[in-house]
């Protein structure tokens, strides 16, 4: 191990920059992760899944400085009843956070977890490691090895009050890795919300293990932080008749790479991943999704919509892998972009790989402009051009936003998108 670190430390990159500091229960998992990362090497432009997104700024030793954005908009989930955990530049802020106790939840900070958290020891790095095949995700292994903070959540009952991971940042050069483990036990249910500007450079990994009949809902807002860069990974494993739903809204951000790797291992499981993003100018947004069906009668949906203008770039790489024996699979994938001008770009790589014969899988990808006939129709009724354009743009995003189950959250996201559109007109 130390030998490997020695060789990489000669190059000035992300891996060389860090040392494993944690002792105790996660130590072995971290050392394994470092070995994985070192063996894989950091992402390169020539890698198959990094063709459309430059990894350099994510793998460099130091983050690119990102100016802080002043905003007088109230944070997204303000006003909702939720369990707040606040991280400022990656450091837990106990004063701003709620007391970490809630019926139906065992919840602990990664930096504080000691002793025999056997469920966490079994999960930490496990789903990330499983998710390295067949496509390598070195940044996630780096996170497992070095993340200093994060949250371990074990869900034992139906929890209606969401857990809200709230990010703030005060530094224009913070480089943050956060690692989350969520274990949803049999019949249990939880909603995890994430929002706020986290860091100049953010690397998160969330491992979600959903047992039979468990429900996991995830709504994340990566918002209003123009210059930040982020690489996020969600790894999930789903048991029988379980439900996994993850939605991400992204408004601006210089670079975002959101990877989602899901394994449906129990029969009749459901996985829905969706995203709505809006980018103006210096904006590069990449959704890379890999869903593996390895059980019978499972359903998966991928719904991604991107609105791009002034040279913004959107990337979608989505794969459905149906393993031998995963009969009655219902796989749906759609990725669409609305290009508000000719300078913007959408790059899509939809993939299906199917080894079972009784499956229904569909995928589609489109790129288009505002429908001129619809625009004229609205204007002919008196709706001003920019209002009509916003209406049509929100309508375009609606299919993704509708993937959010809770109406209150859906409305909050729609309001965010509408106010972004208002601020970014023609």
């Amino acid at each position: 191990m130390t030998a490997m670190q020695a060789t990489t430390s000669e190059t000035d990159d992300l891996i060389a920059q860090h040392r494993i500091e944690a002792e105790g229960w996660s130590r072995t998992a971290r050392e394994d992760a470092l070995a994985r990362a070192t063996a894989m090497g950091l992402p390169q432009r020539r890698d198959e899944y990094w063709k459309y997104t430059r990894p350099d700024s994510l793998t460099a030793a130091e983050p690119v400085a990102a100016a802080l954005l002043k905003s007088d908009e109230a944070p997204l989930f303000d006003g909702m009843d939720r369990l707040k955990l606040v991280f400022v530049d990656g450091v837990f802020d106990a004063d701003a956070s709620d007391d970490l106790s809630q019926e139906g939840l065992e919840i602990e900070l990664l930096s504080r977890a000691e002793g025999d958290l056997h469920w966490a020891r079994d999960l930490y790095g496990t789903l990330e490691a499983r998710g390295q095949k067949p496509v390598e995700r070195p940044l996630a292994a780096v996170n497992t090895a070095f993340a200093k903070e994060g949250v371990l959540i074990r869900v034992t009952g139906k929890v209606s009050r969401p857990v809200n991971l709230i990010y703030r940042r005060n530094s224009d050069s913070s480089d943050v890795m956060l690692h989350y483990c969520v274990k949803v036990e049999k019949d249990a249910e939880v909603t995890v919300l994430e929002n706020g500007p986290a860091a100049a450079r953010l690397n998160t990994v969330m491992e979600v293990d959903v047992a039979d009949h468990g429900h996991f809902h995830h709504v994340r807002a990566q918002g209003r932080d123009h210059e930040r860069r982020a690489a996020t990974h969600v790894f999930a494993r789903l048991g029988e008749e379980s439900f996994f739903k993850s939605f991400t809204v992204t408004v601006n951000g210089a670079l975002t790479r959101n990877e989602c790797v899901i394994e449906l291992t129990g029969d009749d499981a459901n996985a829905h991943v969706a995203g709505a993003c809006v980018g103006d100018g210096d904006f590069h947004h990449d959704d890379t999704v890999f869903i593996t069906h390895d059980a019978v009668n499972c359903e998966s949906r991928q719904v991604f919509k991107k609105v791009l203008r002034n040279g913004a770039v959107g990337v979608f790489q989505g794969k459905i892998l149906v393993k031998d024996g995963a009969q009655k699979t219902d796989g749906y994938q759609i990725s669409q972009s609305l290009l508000l001008d000719e300078d913007s770009q959408f790059l899509a790589k939809p993939e299906l790989e199917i080894y079972a014969d009784d499956v229904a899988c569909s995928h589609g990808s489109t790129s288009g402009a505002i429908d001129e006939d619809a625009l004229f129709y609205l204007r002919a009724r008196g709706v001003e051009k920019h209002v009509a354009t916003d209406l049509l743009t929100l309508a375009f995003l609606a299919e993704a936003v509708e993937e959010i189950a809770a109406e209150e959250l859906r409305d909050a996201i729609n309001d965010r998108l509408a106010s972004w559109l208002e601020r970014h007109r023609g």
Partner: protein, 251 residues
């Protein structure tokens, strides 16, 4: 009310003249009908009046109560009181019919410096008017024109007209695709709006609609011009003899 003088229009993209000098005067309180062979330029006239892209006015003018229409954005023309019932109403996925209409009503009010209509008042008014046109509540909830039958789309146009209460209504083949009963509903909808201050320009191919909406004046358009103008009897002549006679007479 609506005054069109020597209007000449070509396509923006190609060198094709479509309107070759249209003169037309619709007075307040009157219903004018335009008939004419396919491709003679009737829809083009309605689009140019309402401000659709793709056409270039090379000569002439069009004014609404003295205001130059051709100089305005489409939404300004609507706020000034012009309404076009489309020959082919557009389907708009993701935009609810209600949201759309309320946005439109209030946008026009705002543009005219009037107070916006409250959600409650709007609901009350639209429910009553929808009922008159036999448009059920479910159709109001659906996205604009999505999955509407041809006849339902046309009734929806009339509902919009009733909600927006324009000064000058241009109806482009609102009767096409309507069954006999729906035609009566639409005609009743139009007749209910016939007032002293409002003008109508009804484009149609059939006398049948004009049985219900009695026109004051009938125009025949051919090859981009109004070639003949007369009373309601002109529509009957077209119904009975087609355009051949009229066209040879003016040639």
């Amino acid at each position: 009310m609506l005054s069109i003088k020597g209007l000449k229009v070509k396509l923006e993209e190609e060198d094709k003249q479509i309107l070759k000098g249209v003169d037309l005067e619709v007075e307040a309180g009157k219903v004018h009908a335009i008939m004419g062979p396919n491709g003679s330029g009737k829809s083009t006239l309605s689009y140019v009046l309402s401000g659709k892209d793709g056409y270039e006015v090379t000569e002439g003018s069009a004014t609404l109560e003295g205001e130059d229409l051709l100089d305005m954005e489409p939404e300004e023309r609507a706020a000034a009181g012009l309404f076009l019932a489309f020959q082919y109403p557009v389907e708009i996925p993701g935009v609810g019919n209600m949201t759309f209409l309320r946005t439109a009503v209030n946008a026009q009010r705002k543009a005219r410096g009037e107070e916006e209509m409250s959600a409650g008042d709007f609901l009350k008014v639209i429910r009553a008017k929808a009922k008159d046109l036999k448009i059920d509540a479910d159709m109001l909830k659906r996205p604009v024109n999505m999955g509407f039958s041809g006849g339902e789309k046309k009734r929806n146009e009339i509902l919009q007209m009733a909600m927006l209460e324009p000064k000058m209504c241009v109806l482009d083949e609102t009767d096409s695709g309507l069954d006999v009963d729906a035609m009566k509903l639409v005609a009743e909808g139009v007749n209910a709006l016939r007032t002293e201050g409002r003008g109508f320009l009804v484009i149609t191919h059939y006398q049948r609609l004009l049985d219900h909406i009695k026109p004051d004046v009938v125009h025949i358009m051919a090859d981009g011009r109004i070639v003949k103008t007369g009373g309601p009897e002109l529509a009957l002549e077209v119904e009975n003899n087609g355009y051949a006679g009229i066209l040879s007479e003016v040639a």
